[in-house]
Amino acid sequence: MKALRLLRRSGSVLSPRTRPCCFIHQTQYRNPLPLNIFRLQSTAPAQYQSAIEREDDLEPGETEPTEDFFHNAPTQEERESILSQLPSPHPQHAHKSARLSALHARLMLPPRLPLETLARCLVDPSADIDPHFNNSSLSILGYDLLGLYTSEAVLCRHPRLPTEVMFAAMWAYCGPKTLAAITREWGVEVAAAPGGEVDPGYLQCKHIEAGNASVEGTGVQVKDLPILATDPKGKPMLGEPGWRRGVSSRTVKSDHFGDEIKRTVLDYAERPELRQEDLQRKLEKGVTLETASTNFVRALMGAVYLHAGKKAAYNFFKAHILSRHLDFSKLFEFRQPTRDLSRLCAREGFESPVARILSETGRKSRSPVFVVGVFAGKDKLGEGSGSSLDEARIRAAVGALKGWYLYSPLEVNVPSQAERGGNWEPVMVDGGEVVV
């Protein structure tokens, strides 16, 4: 399979980074800026350069002309004042930040990933609304990549997992909480407030006000304010009354974790102004630290993919996401395991399961122990122990179900491996859980 030329196709994500945004309107009357502030250093070649294919061995910084607008700004104070007006650190500052290089080295990122991009990954849309300077595009890409790699890793290794457990596993591997924990483990610190003077090595976002913070001058907590509880249209935002959604609808309409997608691509296509509205609201309200951290890890994933290719991206995923230990057997929750087991046996054409006592001790004592096995014909499906016969039987049924659902083939070739140059072998994906 021929590898895709990523750099050629990534023009929309790595577009030349100029800043024609509100920042210019803010500042053009205050003090005239040097002209080439509008053409800031980019992590992608400019338009006229995008036709030239970059040499693969070259590092991006080597070929790019670095314009130094700082040399035009005469004094230190002027430079600082210009910088402090920027919503996020200037890309050129990426090379001066020890924090950023240390992070680059600590994560063992590929050398083809420039520091500027790493710095861009650390800028949340709530800090800098300009999509050329924040990590929104990269994080969308990273979100999809993480979903792809995680889902294939989970599904191919455990082909019979129920959908709910699958969603839970996805959440556990690359959900917001995990990614926020990963950010903390990587040693990424958060800036108190975003701005141009901030060290690029800090994660920058506008913090949402804490819910239990008291509103100034009153004893009211922020979360109790009526304004925040509803969106501009008057609909309640928090604690939205949902309705029960079936598993099958989740697989089709939800995100990777089975959650409802508030704004779908179709929504944005129908009403393009929605995107700007959402961004604006985010900019005003700020985001939680968890959201910002999630966006950062996703964006970094996307950046590694774009700059260093699929192999490096998968290695990065393996090193930081897949390496985390997840006990799948703890993710299950059965309401009526014995019934599920009998349905499963019926579906799979086994004999109906029968529970038999294997051994017991202290039946008359204060703490008896029964060991019960579940048999389908002559095959023992599972075994469980408990202080009562029912408990032991249910445990045996749970064991039998887990044994079925947690089947894992010995050798697995995930589909994306073929893209990275491996051989394509179709993987077994089972029918999933029984529907009771």
Binding site: A192, A193, V198
Partner: protein
């Protein structure tokens, strides 16, 4: 009653309305009369020598009548000649003192007329409204400053050398010259006017001194100058012994001004002229040496041909020597033997010290001279130890500074830096300003200035 009657008299003179029969005068009238009296008094006071005013008693007429003749004897005014002021006015052509007084009055009233009258001013003249930018005159030490501007102080020594390398080179040179003279058995007297050590075409000379002159210290601790060839010694000796023509000049003109002019001229000489002069000097010196010391061979004259000097001086014409730094090749030898050469011999020590003072312009205090026994101690007086480098400078020079994950700060990393790095400083500043508090200590002044403006 007496004061009232006096006032009444004044009032009658100034035609006041007083009630007949009673001596009472109302307050208003008293005030008026008082003012009138004041006014009349002041007018009489200001007018000079009323006696000469027209309309006063004409004494001349009475004199004529008394004597019965047109030309009565005696002075025109027996009670004194007209006052000195009147006399001067008459000389200046002002006929009437009253008229002049009037003129003064009008001039006071109308200053514009004065402006036109007094002195012609340039087209750019603008009347000053404040004292800003005007020349200050007559303050304390003003006179001295005026004098110093026109007669600046000129010390007896040359301006001091600043660069450490230059001073070390100068000491080495002095040492070599003195020892060369000593070895040639010449009196240790050197030509003071050696030109600017580093600007004139002594490059080659210095280079050879630095490279080829070495000192060896024998068992007794005495130093000896070792030169590569005899020729060099001759050049050295020739360059420092007093010139005959210079002596003649000195004898001819002992006037200081002429001497100063001479020196300035020397300094302003062009490169080519310089080389010629030097060559001539060398020739002269050589011939002088020939006469003074029979040991030196006459070939020297031919060796020191002007052509050779021109070629050797060629690079100097191309590059303008930088006075602040001298090239490495002109530095004294790295080997530090010469620093330990003994200066215990007072004759040598005196010669060296004198020569060093001539070359460097730095005076060594007399009490310290006794303690100087070698060039090392001498240098300790002349040059300061280079300032030790700061830790940050050392670190920045180190390869550690090139590591991307290392940041070296030259200044203290203050809490403000920390807050700026995480972006909190602007918020802190905002909040402090909202409360009218200064963000940092040094901004208090600037804040108050801003408020005043």
């Amino acid at each position: 009653m007496a004061p009232a009657s006096r006032i009444g008299a004044i009032a009658s003179r100034t035609s006041l309305h007083t009630t007949s029969g009673s001596s009472y005068t109302c307050l208003q009238c008293r005030l008026l009369s008082y003012r009138a009296a004041q006014k009349s008094n002041s007018s009489t006071k200001h007018l000079p020598s009323r006696r000469h005013a027209s309309g006063f008693i004409n004494t001349e007429k009475w004199r004529k009548k008394i004597w019965g003749s047109e030309n009565p004897p005696g002075q025109e005014d027996p009670y004194g000649a007209p006052g000195a002021l009147d006399q001067r006015r008459r000389e200046q052509g002002v006929e009437d003192p009253e008229q002049s007084a009037k003129e003064v009055e009008t001039s006071v009233e109308d200053p514009d007329d004065v402006e036109e009258d007094v002195t012609p001013r340039g087209p750019h003249y603008k009347r000053a409204t404040t004292w800003e930018g005007l020349e200050r005159v007559g303050y304390r030490n003003w006179g001295k400053e005026q004098f110093d501007e026109n007669y600046p102080f000129e010390g007896f020594m040359d301006p001091k050398l600043e660069s450490r390398e230059k001073i070390v080179t100068a000491v080495h040179r002095a040492l070599v010259e003195v020892f060369a003279l000593k070895q040639a058995d010449f009196p240790l007297v050197m030509d003071y006017d050696a030109g600017d050590v580093f600007l004139d075409n002594v490059d080659d000379f210095l280079l050879r001194l630095a490279k080829e002159a070495r000192f060896e210290i024998d068992a007794t601790g005495e130093g000896h100058l070792v030169l590569e060839d005899q020729e060099l010694q001759e050049i050295i000796v020739g360059s420092v012994t007093p010139r005959e023509d210079a002596d003649e000049e000195d004898e001819d003109s002992e006037d200081d001004i002429q001497y100063v002019e001479e020196r300035e001229e020397d300094r302003n000489l062009k490169e080519g002229e310089n080389s010629e002069r030097l060559a001539q000097k060398e020739v002269g010196d050589a011939s002088r040496l020939e006469t003074s010391s029979p040991a030196i061979e006459p070939q020297v004259v031919e060796i020191e041909s002007p052509a050779e000097f021109e070629t050797s001086d060629q690079p100097v014409t191309d590059e303008i020597p930088n006075p602040s730094s001298i090239p490495d090749r002109l530095l004294p030898p790295v080997d530090n033997h010469w620093r330990n050469v003994s200066l215990r011999n007072p004759e040598i020590k005196f010669a060296v010290l004198k020569r060093v003072m001539q070359l460097t312009g730095i005076r060594i205090p007399d009490p310290d001279i006794a303690n100087i026994t070698n060039p090392k101690l001498l240098l300790a007086h002349l040059v300061k130890k280079p300032k030790p480098k700061k830790l940050a400078e050392n670190l920045l020079a180190n390869e550690v500074a090139e590591l991307p994950n290392v940041q070296i700060w030259e200044r203290r990393y203050t809490p403000i830096h920390k807050e700026k790095e995480i972006g909190r400083w602007k918020i802190i500043e905002q909040e402090l300003e909202k409360r009218g508090l200064p963000a940092t200590g040094d901004r208090i002044g600037s804040r108050s200035e801003a408020l005043n403006v």
